[in-house]
Subunit: 647 residues, 2 copies
């Protein structure tokens, strides 16, 4: 599958020539994760089960037929919502990234089958969208706010870039470029052009990556146009469509969560290419606001079902969280750009948080079902409660978005910088052969049981003087507890190993040198800001990068709202259970269960005398927490992330 | 204005001949409230300011023009949403109830002007709806689920009944009956009829009242049909449209809050007329569920913006409360029926709670602006926060609904039962001349400063042997505190005076006898059920029937989420301030303000060591609470009902 081209092999984003990039992505196929106890099987399942299942959905639900309809001039009605083509493109992108790393002839056949259809279905002028054909062809570009044509075009371009980088083949890239050329021609401030911005951002990051891959500066300029044109009333003033203010004036994410995050991602890509200090400051401001006031503990975003929107500061309902899987994915994409732009480890912390706790819950352990909405509590099992993953959705943005994100996971592990320093962001067992700028290849072998263990060893396989930066995650900050440690060939490295930083080890390495990082992984009890009112008096349990939750199946007959857990992290134990949920580290502690006192029976409000409430007798129980990403894989039942703490 | 007819004068619901009614409404004009310090000015303002302002809106926004368009065969386009006629009918009902009590020639002119238009605009077959004319006439009855024709017809009937009872004039009643006859003919299970139920209940209670007023049993049968036909998939299975299950199988209010409550109201009216033991049990169950798990402390309902829906049990967000004003109004209407059906004082408690705390906040103190959504907190003053009443809404269900509810307030004060016992539910200064079944008139004079004072005196002006039942509100339940007392001619009545009951005083009264009820009105600190998670560690302040809140204007520069108040009710004082907010009793206490500790800066989640959070130093401040109904009348600012309590 390897191609012969000057484009770097399958990098997630190609910032090698970007003026403002601190980091450069490494090719997906430079890391082999097959032996990793956490990601190895998961990525295989993504390829073998998820991508195949999704291809079946694409066939059965008429996604391919929509294209065939155009090619063969069929009279059959089309299928699906206005943005359905983007689902297929995301699948194509997922398959492409997968093919960059794995041999899979069946998958190649399916991909080539689709690409062949796309080539034939494309209009002579470059336009390609299965919704706006026949009678609806007259509506092309008629409503950028609502009709998602630029959104679909963006996903086509992302798929084309992935396919080109994975295979070196240019046929899909040609399709995407012809469509992009039409877009560049059509939209802009010049005479004969139409002014406009899309209601759902996506084209921005896609055009920039298309520009990076083709060297065509028009695409970057066009992305810059779409970004700069926002906030001037071209569509409407509502945050929902991200047209409420110029991006350089942004103070915070607002409106539709996924749209806001996709736009932030595209804007960050733009800043990587073009020095926009005002906009860079705005994006930093927005990120800080998001991280300190808007993000769920999962790394997910979107407090409101209504308008799928971000919500107000500290508005973080649990049972009614929206936290669309696509928003968690977008948070990963955005933080990857921010990390490449600034090299600040806080972005890797956020990316890791979202990847394990906002993206992974989106897919069932068997790889066949998906969450669209991600509550942090299931209380009553009332009709309408989100309790089960679905095999597909009519609005199916999430399933193929998860598939492409998993297909990209390898790419988030490491980067190199202009000094050929290797930055390691995420930990997993893998073998790496990373191409450096100086033409050499940096080889190493990482072994770890992360995220179950914080013990990580790197066996260096390339000799010479170079630097390795290891991320010391922010989550292992501890006062008076165990400290992270670095050892080289068994000898402790002197000096502090500070959480929330990269630690740089520069030395002349010999083949077989061992670099060891030990991240303490006690159970942590985590509180939320006092203004996150639903979490008052409650804590969440975390261990390493993973958020935990309680499930009803482990606490039969118990209302999980009434479970009390200790504050003291030392009161918790954890152990790996290979047979449970595909193998997970379980957390246990002795807790209590204290239902509302009987004086509350049939009362919702009660006048107090002197005590806030009459405590019911509390009974002891063994509290058992499992990783949040694995919830809902055993039965339909209750679930709770935020737990009452004993006072 | 008095009419000459056998129909009782202007009673809210005419249950005089209803087989299952425990109580009968008394005519609105049998109570004169003009001297009441709370309601007197309010009802005058409703007549002089609100009804006139709303009439202007009806003219300026084309409501009347829509009818004139039909009458004059004009080509002008129509205005407003599909259910706009109902706004006009609600105004007409409000004006009619007002005219039952007050002379107002201008108002009569406006009402007669509208009625004249309606008569002329009505189709020969009885159909009347300004939306379905011209091209849209073909869509009549095409979609009962979404198009609100039966909803509008119901409001027409309610207006007609009110106008007839107020004036004795039958012209509007004739219009309503002709339309109702068409509906009876069109919908039903018989050959040639269409099966169907409306997506927005309202026609049920309207047809029943039309049946009560005309004696035409067909209307009752038709209401019974519309009720019985629900839950059998005639429209769809979603709770939003109240077609998800037969009403006799109801367990709880679900879906759209206003629709659920309007249907409950109609169903209760039906039970009053027809002994449906299964349905009666269901309605009791649903009420109990509502009162113990779904209702806001205001008496409002509707936790979710999304779908304007009730929400899950204990789902009671504060800043994001929906609590549509119409749902509070519907709660008043439903509880009035339940009270008439069962005579249980819990319904009067709920009605009073909703009237003062869910309906009254809906209108500004000057009578010119309205809330549609009623949050219980305003935190950040972010864009989109509900902070100000509006002069009108495009979906304008609430403003005229408030006007008609205020116009009916007199009617909720007292009832009589088949034994001619007088039941007094609500307290206000008034003079009463209440017609009894035995042909006599019961006269008395009530004097009170309620809701500011719980001291109530009744001077009996009719001699003879009869019974008076006084409601002892549930809110004055107290352990070890002051007890309610009843005195007759200054002498304490022996025996307990139990809160949450009616106390019956049967004696031979002499003219000038004094009956005195003293309801203790200390400030109360009220907690919410432990499963109402946003209220954990928080209390609300109440006094008498009134809920209180803090406003930013009284606590400049303070984030009201950070205010701590005492639990001990004795730590509070209250005083009447005649110059504030039209005259209100203000509550004060010494509280503290404790912002999040500086360790929270820029953090949303924090790993704990041993303490749940580092407390910031707390500063003392004077906490000042005002009645919730009066919030938002001084400036756009923060507001908070649920306050952190000192531990």
């Amino acid at each position: 599958m390897k191609k012969d081209t000057s484009e770097p092999r399958a990098v997630l984003i190609n910032t090698a020539r970007s003026p403002n990039a601190k980091l450069t992505s490494v090719p997906l196929d430079s890391l082999v994760l097959s032996g990793d106890p956490f990601w190895g099987d998961r990525l295989e399942r993504n390829r073998i089960v998820t991508l195949r299942n999704q291809y079946q959905q694409l066939i059965e639900r008429g996604y391919l037929e929509n294209f065939r309809r155009i090619v063969e001039g069929l009279d059959e009605p089309d299928e699906g919502l206005v943005f359905r083509d983007s689902d297929l493109y995301k699948w194509l992108e997922a398959a492409s990234w997968t093919l960059a790393c794995e041999e899979d002839p069946d998958l190649i056949d399916n991909v080539e089958n689709i690409i062949s259809l796309l080539k034939q279905a494309q209009d002579d002028n470059g336009y390609l969208n299965t919704y706006f054909v026949g009678e609806r062809a007259g509506k092309r570009w008629a409503n950028l706010r609502d009709l998602h044509e630029l959104y679909c075009a963006g996903h086509l371009a992302q798929a084309a870039v992935a396919y080109y980088r994975a295979t070196g083949k240019t046929d899909l890239l040609d399709v995407a470029c012809r469509f992009a050329d039409l877009i560049c021609e059509t939209f802009g401030p010049d005479a004969g052009q139409t002014q406009g911005v899309p209601g759902h951002p996506e084209i921005e990051m896609a055009l920039i990556e298309l520009g990076r891959t083709t060297g065509n500066a028009h695409y970057l300029d066009q992305a810059a146009y779409f970004i700069r044109a926002r906030g001037h009333g071209l569509i409407d003033g509502r945050p929902y469509h991200q047209d409420h203010r110029p991006v350089s004036d942004w103070e915070e994410l607002a409106g539709h969560a996924v749209r806001a995050l996709y736009l932030s991602t595209g804007v960050t890509d733009w800043i990587i290419e073009d020095d926009n200090s005002d906009t860079h400051e705005a994006v930093d401001r927005v990120w800080q606001h998001m991280a300190s006031r808007q993000v769920y503990i999962t790394g997910g975003l979107g407090a409101r079902h209504s308008g799928e929107s971000v919500g107000a500061d500290y508005e973080l309902p649990n049972a009614r969280a929206y936290a669309e899987t696509c928003a968690g994915i977008a948070n990963v994409m955005w933080n990857w750009r921010m990390l490449n732009l600034e090299g600040n480890p806080r972005y890797a912390d956020m990316l890791e948080r979202a990847l394990y706790n906002a993206v992974l819950p989106g897919v069932s352990l068997d790889g066949k079902r998906y969450f669209y909405v991600n509550p942090l509590a299931v209380n009553d099992l009332a009709p309408g409660d989100i309790t089960e993953r679905e095999p597909w959705y009519r609005c199916a943005c999430c399933p193929p978005n998860i598939a492409r994100t998993l297909a990209k996971v390898r790419g988030y592990i490491a980067s190199v910088d202009p000094d050929d320093t290797l930055w390691i962001h995420l930990y997993a067992t893998h073998r790496a052969e990373i191409p450096l700028r100086n033409g050499r290849t940096l080889k190493y072998l990482m072994r770890t049981r992360y995220p179950w263990s914080g013990h990580i060893t790197i066996e260096v396989l390339t000799p010479g003087l170079f630097s390795i930066k290891l991320r010391v995650p922010g989550w292992c900050a501890s006062e008076g507890g165990m400290q992270p440690e670095v050892r080289i060939n068994g000898n402790p490295r002197p000096g502090p190993v500070t959480p929330g930083q990269y630690i740089k080890i520069r030395r002349t390495w010999a083949v077989g040198d061992s670099l060891c990082l030990d991240l303490p992984m006690p159970v942590r009890t985590v509180a939320a800001h006092p203004h996150a009112l639903e979490n008052t008096g409650r804590v969440a349990l975390m261990r390493g990068p993973l958020l935990y939750c309680l499930e009803g199946i482990d606490h039969p007959g118990i209302d999980l709202r009434d479970v009390l857990v200790p504050l003291d992290p030392q009161a918790y134990s954890s152990a790996f259970e290979p047979g449970l949920l595909g193998g997970v580290q379980v957390i246990e502690t002795e807790g209590k269960v204290q239902p509302p006192a009987s004086t509350w029976d049939d009362q919702l409000y009660r006048t107090l005398r002197s005590q806030p409430s009459d405590a019911a007798p509390a009974e002891t129980l063994t509290v058992r927490a499992v990783p949040y990403y694995a919830w809902g894989n055993r039965e339909t039942g209750r679930m709770q992330v935020w737990l009452r703490h004993k006072s």
